[in-house]
Structures are given as C-alpha cells and as structure tokens.
Subunit: 351 residues, 2 copies
C-alpha cells in the first residue's frame, strides 16, 4: 500500500531517510507492504517541490548532492511556497518534520507539526524542539484527529527508546529512566579518562564532527536536557519544560575528578535522569559517578544508552547509536512503519 | 474490552502472570483497555477448571498456594479433563502454553499450541520447546488462521528481544545477533572470575536456585542452544533445529583460561550467536572471549543480553533479566497486550 509522505526540511536526516527509501524499496514493499511516495519536499534553503503522484527520490537526492535548488526538478510539478503552504497544498498521509531544532521556542517546527496534525496527517520527527516543549498539546491534538505523533528519533536517533517503553515495556510502571543521552560529552569523558585534558577532548570531538564549533548545547547539557524533558513527559505523563529541570554539564569536570572516581571503582558519566517517587516525578541532568559494574558504565565513546527501571521487569538497558545520517533517517522509518502497520490493520478490518 | 484466556500449566510462570492480572487489574483496563478473563486453567498436577464467564484469579492463586487441587474451585464451573479437551471446551481468545519445556520432542506443548491455533486462538508462550523445534510450522499455521503466535518469553523472559527485532528494528536487515542467553552460566563465569573454582561456582548457583540439581541444560549450553535456534529462525527466517547447531558449554573453562583472557584485556562469556553472510546463516553456542569494552563484557551475574547488528542502525544491545516468576509472567502479558491492541484496532475500524 502506498504511503504518501511530505518532508519539511531536506538536510542530512531527510536525505538519509530518502536514501533508505531508495535502497530498500523492494524490501519495504515485500516485507511490510510499505510503499513510500514522497509527494512534497520543502526546504528553507533548497526550495519546494510538490507532486500528488509522487517525486523521484533519486532525482531529489541528486539535486541536493549537487547543491541545486529542488525547484530545478523537471516536469509537471508544483514549485515554490513555504512549509505551511506546502502542507496546505499536498496530499500526504504523513509529514516528516526535519527542519532545524530550536529548543527555546520550538519554532518553526512546532507550527509545522500543529498544521499537519490539524490537517489530519500523521507526524514523525527527530526534531527535539516540539517534543521537548509541547509534547502534551501535540500528542493530544494527534489523538483528537485520529493520527499519530511519532518522536522515536528525538532521543538516541533510531535506537529503540520511546517505542520500546510504550510497546515492549507496556504494562510496567516505569519508576526511573537514567541514560547517557549525549554522545559528544560521553566521547569527551571517555577521552579524558584515557588521559586527555578537557580542551584536548573537545578539540578531538570537534575534529571528528561530534561537537559543533560552539559546543554549548553538548557540554552544558542542553541537548541531554531536551531529551530528559521528553522522557519525563512521554514515560511519566508529566508536562515539564526544559526550564523546569536542573541541568549541569561537564565543563566543571577535571582530570582529577575522573581519577578520583576511578580510584573509587567508579566512572563519570553525564546522565539524564527521571525518577518517580510516589506521585512526584523529579528530573535532572548532571555528571554522576556510576559504579563500574552498572550497564551504563561500560558505554564508551559516542554511544548512547538508557536504563529503564520497571516494576514488573526490573532494570532493562538498551544501548546503541545516538546520532548519524542513516541512524536518524531510520528513526523516522521505524515510526512510519508502525503507523503504516496500523493503517494496514484498519484497512484489512474494513476490507 | 474483555480478553478471554486459557492457561495450560499453572506453575511458577502461570501464577506469576495471574498475580500481575490481580495486581494490575485497574491499570491494565484503564491504560490498555485490556480486561483479562481467565476462562480455563488446566495443570497436569493441579487439575482442570473451566468457566465461560471467567474464574476468580485470587481464588486460583489461593488454591495453588495451598497446594489444593484446582478442582476444589467452588460453584458452577466445569472440572476435570486434560489439556486438549480443555482447549476444545473453552471459549478463550488466547491460550498461554506454560507446561514443562522439553526441547528434545517439544511435547506435550507443541500439540497444545497446534490445537489452540487450529481452533483459532492466539497462542503466547515462554516454553522453548515448540518455538525451538517447530517455529516455522506454527507461525505459518497462526498466519493461516489469522491469529498470533507470541513467543517473546522464550528468549530472556520479558526483556524485549523478539518483539524488539520485529517492531523496533523493523526495516533493518539484521546481520548478526550475539548474546548472553543463559543467566546461570553467566553467573558462574562471573563467580569464577572473582576467584571461585568451577565446582564452587556451580554449588553457589545451585544454592541460589539459578542452577538445577542436574545442571546439564545450563552448563552444557543446551538452554542457550534452544534460544539461539529461536533467534536464527525468527530473526533470519531459517528453519534450523537445535541439532543443526554446534554447541559447547562451559565445563571445559578453567580458572587459568579466565586469567589468561583477563591478562589479554578480555573476558569469557558463553555466547549464542547467529550470523548472516550473504545468503548463508551460521549459528553456534560456545564460550568466547569478549573485549572488555564490548557492551556484552559488562553484563555480569544472572543478567542476559543480546547485541543485534543491523544494516541501517548499527549495533543495538539490550540487557535485562533472563528468568524469574514475575519477569517471565510479564513476557506473556506483553505479547497479550500487543495481540489485544490489534484486536482493538480492528474493532475500532469495524465500529
């Protein structure tokens, strides 16, 4: 069955997703009955192209690779317009919100998400802004409209976290989740443990493309903070904002701190934590010492991990990639596949 | 919505599941619209009781705790008969197969599973026998009958493994899965690393109830072998039998081996592994040396873990409990909840 998709934003993640559509076309159709048709792409820098009968993803990827405007796409398609007008003028079943992340205002992504849900489209996104700031409202809106707001990719890229909690841990009361939610700082702490200074570790992380030129979002814990907010709201039904949650990054950690922890059989990790005690939920981001035999202690380099504490099942830890072109592109696919499975299941019941 | 359940076998796992039904009744109804009604219980030792309108789980648990026959259940219910006649004479939507595990013949569990599927019931089970020996056939039968064969609990109790691969890693080609699939031997190897001899480690494991009086199934790798067979057949579409797969246990591992590995920056783990190379799938169970920085190396004690290698997402590792009354009882619940979600989704589409 065809699944019509609109992409808002066509940077690394959008292109990563389209590469998967290109490379896995037959497999997705055969195994999941999933035939993605990209009916619209709108990118602030690259322009807008819309076709109700579908665009050729090879052509879109070629234009992006060549740095050419998407509006050079040949033939009988509609061109131009902004993200919101694109949504209003396309026939997508699902919209992928892939514009830039702003965790202060959540814009323009949140307006895109709202408009798509209002129009009865499912939304999948790896953009932390809308999810960290407006999860309750957007989830509620999706529910009212009978569609889905899929945000697996906002925490640890495609590594199963939010869907895992919802589906695979269903029936448990999750009493705590603690995790290594930022790969850059985990890489830096690993390097510092291996003898580098903070500045050297940061320089290496920047050289490898893990850290931005301005590393604030990573080293001050703001990226982890957005993810902890999402965990609190999704796993524990809270309605917290990032500004409600205490947050400390790794700038204050010295080689001496790391050595003292090691002498004590422990290891520093920048952890994000949400914890339910009775009816009270607390959350924080801070460097914490972890016992070496804890599953989070062995998570080194840019890998991410989270430990769920569950009333029935006890502790379950998942670890995997936290970023990456294909890994984050995949996070959208896995949400789309689940939405598609539900569409097929409803369709079969009606047939 | 009510979900009518028949339990074949009412030992630790069946009672663990009923305790969850008892303790989470309101939560399951409110959050998942899941109202489990136990309509039949048949246990070789404790007898059989059937009621189309449902049995009181408190009463069933009390009878089991008192060591009394289930047929002492009071009032207007049907009593007596074996497992197959129970299936033929009850109105269950789903059957939980919880009789004893025999990985040589798969019986009597496989006959129970076949009969239930033939009768149009979903089947959920933590019994490794049918899944290790007859997965393809039973899965095919379930598909023909439009029902589900849920076996999450056969590998690592309720820790997400098989559903994780199917749902949360959907769209990936899984090229390998390697894991610590037996808690007893992992506990023993951890103890040996801490200085115990093989015999001392085994004695402690037996004292703690991890190992049976006859520890063969654990220490010779047969338990892990059944699980590897299931992984090969479920994740990689094979149709292997345990007897097709090379299997070596931990009896041959000496303190000297463990020390030599440690000196080399490695650690012995009894691993089960399935690996796809081109069109060829290989599987094995053997003690292997794992680099200390691998996520499986840090998994100590009775914990289980598995690393999936995926073409899109890279390596994802999940670790959690591999056994236990509540943990395995929960494995059935999570499969039932997914089946129930599909029933609700079809029902809503038809409404």
């Amino acid at each position: 069955m065809q699944h019509r998709i609109a992409l808002l934003g066509f940077g690394t993640v959008g292109q990563g997703l389209c590469e998967i559509f290109r490379d896995k076309r037959d497999e997705l159709a055969t195994q999941y009955g999933f035939e993605p048709i990209v009916v619209a792409v709108s990118d602030l820098r690259m322009g807008t192209v819309v076709s109700d009968s579908g665009l050729d993803v090879n052509r879109l990827l070629d234009l992006a690779a060549a740095g050419t405007s998407l509006e050079e796409y040949p033939g009988d398609v509609r061109r131009g317009g902004d993200a919101l007008s694109t949504l209003a003028n396309c026939n997508a079943d699902s919209m992928c919100e892939l514009t830039f992340t702003d965790v202060k205002t959540g814009e323009p992504a949140t307006s895109h998400v709202r408009a798509a849900l209002q129009a009865g489209m499912n939304v999948v996104t790896s953009n932390k802004g809308p999810a960290a700031l407006f999860y309750r409202e957007l989830e509620q809106l999706a529910r009212e409209k009978g569609v889905r707001f899929g945000i697996e990719g906002t925490v640890m890229s495609g590594t199963p976290v939010l869907n895992l909690a919802r589906l695979n841990l269903a029936g448990n009361r999750i009493t705590a989740a603690r995790g290594i939610l930022n790969g850059t700082t985990n890489y830096m702490l690993s390097e510092m443990e291996a003898g580098k200074s903070y500045d050297e570790a940061l320089a290496t992380a920047q050289k490898l493309g893990y850290a931005e030129a301005d590393p604030t979002a990573d080293v001050d814990g703001l990226d982890a903070l957005a993810k902890v907010t999402i965990l609190a709201n999704v796993l524990m039904g809270e309605n917290l904002r990032p500004s409600d949650i205490p947050c400390e990054g790794i700038r204050g950690i010295t080689p001496e701190d790391i050595e003292a922890a090691r002498a004590d059989g422990k290891r520093y990790k920048l952890l994000g934590e949400v914890r339910r005690e009775g009816s009270k939920v607390t959350a924080r981001v801070a460097p914490m010492q972890v016992e070496l035999n804890h599953p989070l202690a062995g998570v080194m380099g840019a890998t991410n991990a989270v430990t769920f504490s569950c009333d029935l099942l006890g502790d379950v830890t998942v670890n995997g990639p936290g970023a990456g072109r294909t890994e984050t592109g995949y996070s959208l696919l896995v949400d789309l596949l689940e939405i598609h499975r539900e569409m097929l299941s409803r369709g079969e019941a009606l047939a």
